[in-house]
């Protein structure tokens, strides 16, 4: 079994118009910049994939990554907890102009909904957002005298993930706090596409230390000198 693909363009070829795309990362940590930019390249060359729903904790920063996707006009909707950043122009402008939809989800609920999508749990109850406007229209229930909101699973057509180590079966590790949403998104997407920094032979990751088992991974591409989003932003890099 070999899930590696030749290059970035091949890796992201599975993303279709109108797809829901989960993108790993929290701020710059774990952002799969090269996969995102390959998706933008394809959109610029072919006009596809457009009308995307993007799931990420944030809604882009500066003029690279998800922000550059929004600038390019590929994103119809963001599902996120915190669409602000040190330079949130891309999302803010489109949002205030009514050109992009926003589903705002509390961060823990976002994580749990994605996990539920991956774990075959169609709905769960959480205390989070009870009594607030973010619970409007959602069923509520009482357990042991406390009130909870029913939340639904969140799934995706494709997840884009940045890993540290990978083998060709798709076993992954993540670097430090770049882990964040990535193991959950890998579970919740029909097709999980990974850019990995270092490739090892199967067995090269201690079986006890695999963070995402290969069953959750479909396509892997090697990106040796992966950029770090936050570092790029501080260098003033723009992908435009």
């Amino acid at each position: 079994m070999d899930k590696t693909v030749a290059d970035l363009a091949d890796a992201i070829a599975v993303v279709e118009d109108g797809a829901t795309v989960m993108i790993g990362g929290f701020g710059g940590a774990g952002a799969p910049i090269e996969l995102i930019h390959a998706l933008i390249d394809r959109f610029r060359a072919t006009g596809s994939p457009g009308r995307l729903t993007v799931v990420n904790n944030n809604a882009g920063n500066g003029r690279i990554g998800i922000a550059a996707m929004i600038d390019a006009g590929m994103v119809a909707k963001m599902v996120c907890s915190f669409p602000r950043s040190s330079d949130p122009r891309a999302f803010t402008e489109k949002y205030l102009a009514g050109e992009i939809e926003l589903e705002l989800v509390p961060q823990g609920t976002l994580a749990e909904r994605i996990r539920a999508g991956g774990a075959g749990i169609p709905a769960f109850y959480t205390p989070t957002s009870y009594g607030t406007e973010l619970a409007a229209g959602k069923p509520v229930a009482e357990f042991e005298g406390r009130s909870y909101v029913q939340e639904r699973w969140l799934k995706a057509d494709v997840a884009l993930i940045k890993a540290e180590l990978a083998d060709r079966h798709g076993n992954l590790t993540y670097r430090k706090a770049a882990r964040n949403f990535s193991p959950l998104m890998a579970m919740a997407a029909r097709t999980t596409v990974v850019q990995a920094h270092v490739f090892v032979e199967p067995g090269g990751i201690d079986p006890e230390q695999v963070m995402t088992p290969g069953i959750f991974v479909d396509r892997i591409v090697k990106v040796v000198d992966a950029a770090q989003e936050e570092a790029l932003i501080r260098q003033g890099v723009e992908y435009a």
Binding site: M1, G118, A119, I121, H169, N171, M187, V210, P213
Partner: protein, 221 residues
Amino acid sequence: MKLANAQIAWRAAQDIEDGAYVNLGIGFPEMVAQFQPSGRAAIFHTENGILDFGEAPAAGEEDWDLINAGKKAVTLKPGAAFFHHADSFAMVRGGHLDVAILGAYEVAETGDLANWSTGPKGVPAVGGAMDLVHGARRVAVITDHVTKDGKPKLVKRCSLPLTGVGCVTRVYTSLAVIDIVSSRFVLREKLPTLSLDELQSLTGAELLVEGEIINLNVPEI
């Protein structure tokens, strides 16, 4: 004439693709792993938190922290991974397995499966059976076509407590290969020595025929 268990397991193994993620139920289904066609390597999942385990170790070489769901000692293949029970059943329930192959007391034409309880006597035990019937893209059963008393195990409606509703998609028996399509048994393969009427008389619900019935040819094992 009927297939031996090893031959049923062999037949089931032929339908497992290279690289498929597979869970084999405890007992008879575990035998399927022995008969993968050469050139194919499925990745086996066990409920207690291993992907890509291999054969039993030599006697005396067992590590009892390295066991499968049947509590038998196993080994690891390169690329194996350990994980906890919630992640393990996320793989099951979340639809990440390609195939689950299970034993059965009864299978109904509706796809209902009874394989965990023979009734209210004794100590009940369910293990992961009720989870495994949900989530795998294909839930197959391997079983003798009839009980030891000669009664059909493929029935119109299960009489024993259910494991799951409408979950089985294919049944490999000692006599035939049968798909479940739109709550009906559809005969795909049967032993060439057996007439359709004979097979029907051993089956508790109508067997539909769509197109050719293939001869169920299995090597001596």
